[in-house]
Amino acid sequence: MVETATHDAHATSTGLSNVKLGMWLFLGSECLLFGGLISTYMLYRGRVSDGPTPEQIYDIPFTSVSSFVLLMSSLTMVLAVSAAHKRDDRGTNLWLTVTALLGATFVGGQVYEFTAFYNEGLGFTTSLFGSSFYTLTGFHGVHVTVGIIMLLAFVAINKRSRVPGSKSESVEMIGLYWHFVDIVWIIIFTLVYLIPV
């Protein structure tokens, strides 16, 4: 994951790591991606030509629990980063695995939620609300899934001691991505679920 144009990574002009700078730029860019999806949802959430409305279908207690799970996965992620900085391989792998499990729980919850909604009559093509809801939360779910794959892949590579470049930096980058996905959900949870149309 680490790329430098010169092998021994001469000090950079700013003294900051290339990869970390690149990651923050990427996350800044992602703000506009999710901003667009959230705006589309906000514009269309009340447009229900057919099928159920948001109020009829949202299960706030259920979503609260899965939101809480995702929030806590940020804690375990930060503990993994912390362990990686202490060169504690066992701890790193452990906390990364726990984070992936919490993430998988969240995605599992989302799959359950989507299935339930579909059975209650909200398909992807039912209404503008349906289209924009599934698109927004689906995009977020894909981001979480990508994060889970990164976490598990890193653990697998790490166990075989085949991580190229700096280990702690790789974990830190996965962490930044993971936390970003979490803060996007913090916004979605409030704007989509808690604030009624």
Partner: protein, 88 residues
């Protein structure tokens, strides 16, 4: 930051989430919308500042990230405003 510190942050985040969810059961009256938005922003900033270390890191990272964030907020709120979104 210490492990203890991270756990404290996580507990605060959990408490705010509980408070957020309580708005679903308890009537907050006119405070409903502003309080939810404020709690959302607090959670967001806490994760970014502490879990993502932006508070302790080089200011350049903050500049890059918050530029994207504020740009997003700015253009999308403006776009929604042209749809009379906030007047409904």
């Amino acid at each position: 930051m210490s492990t203890r510190g991270y756990i404290v942050i996580a507990l605060i985040l959990a408490a705010i989430t509980a408070l957020e969810v309580s708005t679903y059961y308890v009537d907050f009256g006119p405070l409903f919308l502003p309080s939810l938005l404020i709690m959302m922003v607090i959670k967001f900033v806490m994760v970014v500042s502490y879990f993502m270390h932006l508070k302790f890191d080089n200011k350049l990272f903050s500049w890059l990230f918050y530029t994207g964030l504020f740009l997003a907020v700015g253009v999308y709120i403006t776009a929604l405003a042209t749809f009379q979104f906030f007047l409904r």
